[in-house]
Amino acid sequence: MSYLSANIVIRALPPPSRGWGFPISLLSLLISLSAGWALSSAHAADVPIKDPDSNGELVFNYDINLPGTYTLNRIKRAADGKVLDTDGKARALTDFFGGDKLTLLSFIYSSCADPNGCPYAYAVFHQIKSRLEREQPQLANKLRLVSLSFDPERDTPAMLKLYAGDNVTAAHGVQWDFLTTASLRELIPILDAYRQDVYIDLDPKTGKSVGTMSHVLKVFLIDRDKYVREIYTASYLNPDVAYNDILTLLLEDGARLK
């Protein structure tokens, strides 16, 4: 069933198809974000978030290790690839790693409707950015967030610039870059290197894309030497853990906490 590579798998969806298409999704997202994240509980309650056994939501229940009390191993070198920034300029993915910054990388697509996927990663990124700027403002310029689209067809640089909004142009605080690729030819080697699965939803009758995709959320924490130091996945991305991991790496680099 694979027509591009091992990483892109076509699947058929039973009707009705999911997703309302990119423009509506993007509009919805922007409207939600513009509300300042002060979202009513009624909205959340409307969405039946459930785990596979319909037993409700996972709740983490453990004490989080304090920053600097543990080490994060070098897992592997962060892979490179050819990407486009929101101005359409060709860049190397590793241009967005290293230097004097840590990087938090995730794969997204702007019309994603999966609450366990892109919107959750977006919310986690936003929380980490806000918290670092609020609690450790002197370190805010030591972290870079990178959201890389796996939908190059629709997530053009212009579209991503719209999706990113003020995040990408902020003069201060945590830098947040939104990237895409010129085509699947450039994208697939990156997905393979990070072992990020992506599934394209097809109409079972026509065999054509219904405009949505699925993926298992993965987030990568990359150090200043461009090594992956932690990988967060699916249901177990705890923003407090990721925040302390960031501080742990910053402490390793000699940073001082407030």
Partner: protein, 463 residues
């Protein structure tokens, strides 16, 4: 330390962001926090009908090519090759094949050999019906100082390996090794030794491991070193000095930092570890090989982890020798194999502190591993424990058997005689689906498997 329990609020926020996109569709992706009895919580699961069972098989001198091999069996009842071997893949030598584990993306399967210390990485996604050996790690002992790579447990982007022994004296002191998914060693961790703060003497032994991600804890058990597990069992049990060298502890670790937090006295070689997957449960179960008991590890009222002796196994043989166990997805039923009498016992675990045996069935002259499907309706058994510990002569029965379980009794669906097929000793089992789109939790609820596609692929392999 701060409490990491604000997941719900973040989730609600994310949900609200996407609310207008999904409302009314009634179809949401699934998170992964359960398994087909024992897989890592970081591995996607097969919630429906498994298509294949891989059996990591010990080579036997003079039988076939004599090599350890990965045997692929078609187990989909709709296939005309149901219950048949459709592929074998020899690894070229005989090194005491033992256990296997999936990577976190379920595209690759790592398999270990306890004597040669080799680790074989199989590609099981390009063509699941015909696995391909893509890498062999040959310097595990040299690089880690450990011997006997036993348990393979997926972490995001990595493989956590529990070893059984060490290169210095081949005794039971050992450790954990973390590799990245590419097969490069990341870090090693020694098992705890010496007197712990609770007064327990940590023996440094290892066997199995399991993670409860919601509690951020890793649990480990303890067995014995190369000197013992490679010794003939008849000789071993008559050697009082050798019999002193078995693990008597379990340890709970911080799963994030891989630092031990507490060691429990669990006498008699606690082996397989199974966490209850039922939401809200915070307990794991194990069986002790030498003392024939079931133990539960759980938090007490003060949120302190404790180990409890909850049951003693009874068998017709003088020694129970419990080996593999398999816990149902709801945590209410436990299969326990007792090796010497070849019997599978079913225990009602509705109250884990007071479990009761409710059913038993003779599987073969000996029985070791048990694996159940996610829904618990299909149960598979194999028979080899260790090359030098299996029974001799006609009692050395080597089979893979599959049963249907209706909650009351096991009904045999197929049996494969691994000696008759000239394959070897049947040991560890892992499931796989031919259509990989079934493997992702995001798709678990979306569509049924395309049976025609599966059968067609299986047919091609058979030819």
């Amino acid at each position: 330390m701060t409490k990491g329990n604000d997941r719900f609020s973040m989730k609600a926020l994310a949900a609200a962001v996407s609310a207008t996109m999904v409302l009314g569709l009634g179809m949401l992706p699934a998170a992964t926090h359960a398994d087909e009895t024992c897989n890592s919580p970081y591995t996607p699961l097969i919630k429906g009908q498994e298509d294949l069972v891989y059996v990591w098989t010990l080579g036997v001198e003079g039988m076939g090519d004599g090599s350890d091999k990965l045997v692929t069996v078609d187990v989909n009842p709709k296939s005309k090759h149901f219950g048949k071997v459709i592929a074998t893949l020899s690894v070229g030598d005989r090194g005491e094949a033992h256990h296997m584990g999936f990577t976190d993306d379920r595209r690759y399967m790592w398999a270990g050999a306890l004597d040669s210390n080799k680790i074989f990485i199989f590609d099981i996604h390009s063509n699941p019906a015909k696995p391909k050996l893509v890498k062999t790690i040959t310097d595990f002992a040299e690089k880690t100082g450990f011997v006997g790579p036993h348990t393979f447990y997926a972490l995001p982007g990595r493989m956590l390996i529990q070893a059984l022994s060490n290169t210095k004296d081949h005794g039971g002191r050992t450790g954990l090794a973390v590799y990245n998914n590419e097969g490069d060693l990341v870090k090693t961790y020694d098992m705890p030794t010496g007197k712990m703060s609770n007064g327990v003497m940590a023996d440094g032994y290892g066997y199995d491991l399991g993670i409860n991600p919601q509690q951020n804890v890793l649990l480990t058990s303890s067995f014995t070193g190369w000197n013992n597990y490679m010794m003939d069992m008849g000789k071993l049990v008559k050697d009082p000095e050798a019999m002193k060298h078995f693990g008597n502890t379990m340890a709970i670790w911080d799963a994030k930092t891989l630092q031990p937090k507490k060691v429990f006295e669990v006498p008699g070689a606690p082996l397989e570890i199974r966490w209850s997957l039922k939401k809200g449960d915070n307990w794991a179960v194990t069986a002790t090989a030498l003392t024939g008991k079931l133990w539960v590890i759980k938090e007490d009222a003060n949120k302190e982890w404790q180990a409890y002796d909850v049951a003693t196994l009874k068998t017709d043989s003088p020694i129970a020798l419990p080996v593999d166990i398999s816990l149902s997805r709801d945590g209410k039923g436990l299969w326990v194999n007792t090796f010497l009498d070849g019997v599978a016992q079913y225990w009602d675990f509705s109250d884990p502190m007071k479990p009761k045996m409710t059913y038993k069935k003779k599987i073969a002259s000996q029985v070791n591993m048990v694996s159940q499907s996610f829904d618990g309706k299909r149960v598979y058994f194999t028979t080899s424990l260790l090359g030098n510990w299996d029974k001799k002569g006609k009692d050395d029965e080597q089979v893979l058997k599959m049963y249907n379980w209706d909650g009351k009794q096991l009904k045999e669906a197929f049996s494969i005689d691994f000696y008759k097929e000239k394959l070897g000793r049947a040991h560890h089992m892992k499931f796989q689906a031919i259509n990989l789109k079934q493997l992702q939790p995001l798709q678990a609820k979306l569509d049924g498997l395309d049976t025609l596609d599966k059968v067609a692929l299986t047919d091609r392999q058979a030819k």
